[in-house]
């Protein structure tokens, strides 16, 4: 795109050059003509170049980050990064979006990117949610992935704004050593950059890493670096050009439970007779350092603080209030080691699998429960019914690699549609259940890489004529009536051989 401009510029220079040669002949008219042509050429080139720079919407020269502070929380296996950016618009044109850059390896493990803008000062501070969408820039070095934050009001020239970004990374703590025995502690690698990767010039930046314990085996030093207690500080770094990257590796101890659900299938069956039945199929795995050697139950039970420090045996599931008929079973049968505590706001189901989970060990189980219909099914103003249910996994602090939610709508439902606050894959299926003739429509929603921050309500809309509810009892009544008619037919017909 730049080359035709350059060609035209060179052509203009060539034209003016020829006139300059003729200047030596001393003609005053020739001199005036050459100067005006040169000026015209230069202004034309300048206009074209300024047009190009302003037309590139998120040009890296337009925004400058005055101060960037990044806090990385490594306390659990889900890495939460809080980024506070103070941006300034240094060009004349207003800026309507800010672009965040991520290295390609990190972008694959990104579960969530949220941004909000701080409005007001000190006591009257309030936060406004901003939209974040993945975007692409034409000249991305080394496969950098981008997300663009849309500002509420475009940033005018010289104006500054403060943005707070939260992004969550999963599977970013790599256990090293990859295999540990029962009595060893779990150590993991965390790889990132001391300098915040950004397409803009960063004037000042600092990165803080919060570790779960004071034990850090090693960390890369990029001066100035300071490690005290549970905090590792990289920075402050001054005046770094765009796309500056300084890889660091931190080798730390992390014994928090690395509970990962490989596959979660949640089936929500709606019955207009007053109940919503939920069945959840879990494939749970411990995604930390793999367990090697023998498992000694004696050692595990006699010295709990020394043995199995990285393992976990309890899981907490947060269920809605007024839940009934909760069951917890697997392929073998019912698992009785569970406790249900409920109050008027929430119910907590604490489950204990049949064995504690060490690195690489898996557990497959089913949790099912029923909920009252009036808590979740509503009627919208345009006559459609909708289910308002929460997306995500009820288990606390777990990452779900693949989450599938199947909403089974009652027989006779038409026009199903789903609305979720983040992108999900949708499709429709049919399921044959109790007293079904044509089958029930199933709305299937799928999402990969789900974290607890995804536990937000979603809606499934459908139309249903209440008269269809009569189909079920009338079907049963007609079966009984057919029985009576058969009795009549038998009694009225004379089947005797001899009269």
């Amino acid at each position: 795109m730049l080359s035709p401009v350059l060609h035209r510029h060179c052509h203009l220079f060539l034209v003016t050059g020829r006139s300059e040669d003729s200047r030596g002949l001393g003609s005053f008219q020739d001199m005036a003509r050459s100067i005006s042509m040169e000026a015209a050429g230069l202004t034309l080139a300048f206009l074209i170049l300024t047009f190009l720079t302003t037309s590139a919407a998120s040009s890296t020269n337009q925004i400058q980050i005055l101060n960037a502070e990044r806090r990385i929380d490594l306390s659990s296996h889900i890495v939460k990064v809080f980024l506070t950016l103070k941006v300034e618009n240094v060009m004349t044109a207003p800026a309507s979006e800010i672009v965040l850059a991520f290295p390609p390896a990190q972008a694959d493990h990104l579960a969530l990117v949220k941004a909000q803008a701080a409005i007001g000062k000190k006591k009257k501070k309030s936060y406004v949610h901003l939209d974040v969408n993945p975007t692409e820039l034409p000249d991305a070095p080394n496969g950098t992935k981008y997300f663009s934050i849309s500002l509420l009001n475009p940033l005018s020239s010289g104006e500054t704004a403060t943005l707070e970004v939260l992004y969550i990374l999963t599977h970013s703590l790599k256990p090293f050593p990859a295999e540990i025995s029962q009595s060893e502690s779990q150590l993991v690698y965390f790889r990132d950059s001391a300098l915040i990767l950004s397409p803009y010039h960063v004037k000042q930046q600092t990165t803080f890493l919060k570790t779960p314990s004071t034990k850090v085996e090693s960390f890369t030093r990029v001066e100035p670096t300071k490690f005290a207690g549970r905090e590792l500080k990289y920075g402050p770094y001054e005046d770094r050009p765009p796309y500056s990257f300084s890889p660091v590796t931190v080798h730390l101890e992390n014994n928090s439970p690395f509970a990962v659900v490989e596959e979660l299938l949640r089936e929500v069956e709606i019955s207009h007779w007053g109940n919503i039945q939920i069945t959840e199929h879990y494939k749970l795995v411990h995604a930390g350092a793999r367990h090697k050697g023998v498992f000694s139950r004696v050692e595990y039970q006699s010295r709990p603080s020394f043995s199995g420090t990285s393992s976990f045996k309890h899981l907490l599931a947060s269920l809605p209030p007024r839940v009934h008929s909760v069951y917890y079973r697997d392929d073998i049968g019912n698992i009785s080691s569970s406790h249900l505590r409920s109050d008027y706001r929430k119910s907590e189901l604490e489950i204990e699998p049949r064995y504690p989970l060490f690195g690489g060990w898996k557990a497959t189980f089913v949790i099912g429960y029923g909920l009252p219909l009036e808590d979740f099914l509503f009627e919208s103003p345009d006559g459609k019914r909708y289910l308002n249910f929460s997306f995500g996994c009820p288990l606390a602090e777990t990452v779900v690699d693949k989450l599938t939610i199947k909403v089974v709508l009652p027989e006779g439902s038409k026009d199903p549609s789903a609305a979720a606050p983040f992108p999900v894959e949708q499709r429709l299926e049919t399921k044959y259940s109790y007293l079904d003739v044509v089958g029930r429509t199933v709305m299937v929603l799928e999402k990969k890489n789900v974290v607890p921050e995804h536990i937000t309500p979603f809606q499934v809309y459908y139309t249903f004529k209440p008269i269809f509810m009569l189909a079920e009892p009338l079907m049963l009544a007609s079966v009984f009536f057919l029985f009576f008619v058969a009795c009549l037919a038998y009694l009225h017909n004379d089947l005797s051989i001899r009269k």
Partner: protein, 78 residues
């Protein structure tokens, strides 16, 4: 969401399900008993098809609804 949306409940209160099940099944069984007694006691010439069909229809109606409420009361939300 602006105003509170109307919650949809079942057409029959859920707490009535066991009571309704028992009463409707009882009535249905009584009517079907009356049907079979009529069949057993009447002779071939005195039988009235209309009476048999109506008794059968009433019995099947009550038995049908009674069995639906029995299914709902026992937790099979059809």
């Amino acid at each position: 969401m602006g105003s509170k949306a109307a919650a949809i409940t079942s057409p029959v209160p859920v707490t009535w399900y066991p009571t309704l099940a028992i009463f409707m099944l009882a009535i249905g069984l009584i009517v079907s008993a009356s049907f079979f007694i009529y069949e057993a006691t009447s002779s071939r010439r005195n039988r009235s098809l209309a009476k048999e069909l109506t008794t059968g229809a009433v019995a099947s109606f009550f038995l049908g609804f009674g069995s639906l409420f029995m299914l709902l009361a026992s937790g099979v939300y059809v």
